[in-house]
Subunit: 450 residues, 2 copies
């Protein structure tokens, strides 16, 4: 497909510091993040086309430092404002490389942390605008691209030793087979989800058991528990949850980077009797060799990681080193849709299932599009694939996710599902919004980074 | 040693955006950084002690984005201002962990990029204050610490599989032997340096030859050339430089991350006839496995990297994977002196020489202290050790480096040599300083990130 003809230019890139006071309730809690205030460094891209369409995107953060992300987004403005829309939309690969390639900003990474996440927010906002213009949900826009167009979106620098453009093209072409049938099935049945809400670290056992049972009754076939603070507590919580869900439902564990290598191995072995499906972030997301060592020692418990893996070069190595059983894509950690396409292709090349990270604010809304594109056009399968689901803050979005019997319904609204309600943007603006003026009057949302 | 008794508190942490318009001359140039404006996100820590002493530190950046670093430094202020000086100086390990451990800011890394570099600047500023209070240069202050005190400064999380606190303690204790003699030798003879100034990519061959000969005549036993933009040019430049310095002087090459794995191998093999001593940053600093593959293929040419390696977890793996012949410590990339102590110990454990990255603005001033401490108290040797030296912007410091016959003279002034002249801080403040008002009147300095 070709983008619809576009005459205008990008006239504005505005950044907003949006924070939800989620730390006010103690329910959001894991071993590393006791008190997150779910936040978005939010981007709106405007044009002079006159069609009223805007591109919305954001970084997800957990509070302090959201203003640093906003500063990084502002630093990208000169690369974006003034560009002809036609040039951007016909060469989104080049646009992305122009942001990553700013030699001065690159020094602050390269391709990691605050600046790279800001690039991701801007790139995602442009994709949102593109999909709105094409009057498609993003997953459908991506699936309608020709394989050659997808390959042109990807920066193969530093990953060609694992995946060449030609290999990617071959994979994408082969995946065209059966795509129509898969799309029909996706629209009819949705994409499987798993439930993190039962397992926050601060919950009493009775609440864990109740929520776990509720999730299974609601159709979820996998739940997740936070672990890593205290081994005796974890044993008791695992026993409680396993008792509540029975043997046929998958139970994942998440340590949020709490351990070193030896500690991870010992801890997971102690919990193995409860048949955990995966252990998530057992150690530093940077520790490729450490994760590989842990994986060798704790099999058959699977190792999952990704929400803090900062770029495609790290994912490439996690796959090369056999360090991962489950790749947890995140929509807002890397350089936007484009880099996530590279990561989806790498995962497919190595035969590792992608089970995206979500939760926070808006992560479910975004990442569902990438997982659905993967199903249609890359991996072609739902086998062992689940998208994380956490039930909070969706009400702030114009096109919130819809969960039916434990599955994400395919979004049909145009765009990337990334647009927050204007009244939410106003109320949760930090520090000026109403939510931050009346600290205990606004009903807070709950949760913790998943 | 115990810190001198301190009664006061830290009363201010101020951040300044300082930029030098180095891009105005074309001489600073490498394959990835065509036009750097050398910059410092500069920190001053003040107390109510009344002794007039301040702690100075900074992040080095290359221009755009320096304001993002300043925002990150400001985000750390609540963790610093109000602390009792006595508590900070008697537990600098704990202080450092309190910055790294902010769960909300940690989300923006973890331990990488903008936030981690900001932590490094703040930690280094506190070390500067500490050394000024003790009336010692930092290298001497560090060398005077007991082994137990050094170990207590280090965060072993995520590196204990390669280096335990007990191993570190044993290494430090063994290195006490001969320390007095090494200190006397250091004071008498200085620490070996190598010269990067001859090799900027934009220089014509005649200038490369002249500057290379000048460096050797000045006592340097190693020079460095930038490569990676054009292979034919690189061959010609290598031939020119090798001809100028003769066979007995080491010639390092630096590709500044330009290549993928296969391209790096092919390129370096073509240049091998000129007997390069090391190839620096042949690919992404994140690509541990790629660097290991390159190293296997290009031996006996050595692989060097480090200036963009973002934390101790990455260095640990580079060492575990046999990916490095030379470890290029940087004073401003990781979480300050404390994390660099971990990196020095890891390098010594694996028997890999440390040849610090310097240049930019102030990097020579800072990193000499760490290399000298390594010589006295960790590795105990100068064998194959050299600190990078680039001759620019030193005039802005109160205690600039002193090079004598190709060697760094050991600094004797109190502190971390990190204090810029007040008039430089005023003139190069961005965007308000005089240097940025009269764009072509101020004589610019030259250079490029080394």
């Amino acid at each position: 497909m070709r983008p619809r003809p576009a005459r205008g230019r990008i006239t504005a890139l505005d950044a907003y510091d949006i924070r939800f006071p989620t730390s006010r309730r103690l329910e959001g809690s894991d071993a590393m993040n006791p008190d997150p205030d779910y936040s978005a460094s939010y981007v709106i891209i405007r044009t002079d086309v006159g069609d009223g369409l805007e591109g919305h995107g954001f970084c997800f953060t957990i509070g302090r430092g959201n203003e640093v992300e906003v500063a990084a987004i502002n630093a990208l403005r000169p690369h974006v404002v003034g560009l002809r829309l036609a040039e951007v939309l016909t060469d989104l690969g080049g646009f992305c490389r122009s942001l990553v390639g700013d030699s001065q900003l690159r020094w602050l990474g390269p391709e990691k942390g605050v600046v790279h996440m800001a690039i991701g927010a801007v790139v995602n906002a442009v994709w949102d605008l593109y999909a709105k213009r094409e009057e498609k949900p993003l997953w459908k826009l991506l699936a309608d691209l020709a394989p050659e167009q997808v390959v042109a979106l990807i920066d193969f620098r530093y990953v060609e030793d694992a995946l060449t453009p030609d290999e990617a093209l071959g994979m994408l072409r082969r995946a065209r087979g059966g795509m129509k049938e898969r799309e029909a099935r996706l629209l009819a049945e949705g994409y499987p989800a798993y439930a993190t809400s039962p397992g926050w670290l601060g919950y009493p056992d009775s609440k864990v058991a109740g929520l776990a049972r509720e999730a299974v009754d609601g159709g979820f076939r996998q739940i997740k528990l936070k672990v890593g603070a205290d081994l005796d507590d974890d044993e008791r919580r695992c026993r409680t949850a396993r008792g509540a869900i029975g043997p046929g439902v998958r139970m994942a564990l998440d340590a949020n980077q709490r351990w070193g290598v030896a500690e991870a191995v010992g801890w997971i072995r102690r919990l193995a009797e409860f048949d955990p499906y995966w252990i998530e972030e057992p150690t530093s997301p940077d520790d490729i060799l450490g994760l590989a060592a842990i994986r060798r020692e704790v099999a058959p418990v699977r190792v999952a990681t990704g929400e803090h893996v900062h770029n495609r070069v790290m994912f490439k190595q996690l796959l090369q080193a056999d360090a991962l059983d489950i790749l947890q894509l995140d929509a807002c950690r890397v350089g936007g849709v484009n880099e996530n396409l590279a990561i989806l292709l790498l995962a497919a090349k190595f035969g590792v299932p992608v089970c995206p990270h979500a939760g926070g604010v808006g992560l479910c809304e975004l990442v569902q599009h990438l997982a659905m594109f993967d199903y249609l056009a890359v991996s072609g399968t739902l086998q062992d694939r689940v998208i994380e689901y956490v039930d909070h803050l969706h009400e702030h979005f114009l096109d919130p996710v819809v969960i039916v019997r434990g599955r994400y319904a395919a979004p049909t609204a145009h765009g990337f599902s990334s647009t927050m309600r204007p009244e939410s943007l106003a109320a949760y603006a930090f520090p000026g919004g109403a939510a931050w003026q009346t600290p205990y009057d606004v009903p807070p949302a709950e949760g913790s980074p998943a």
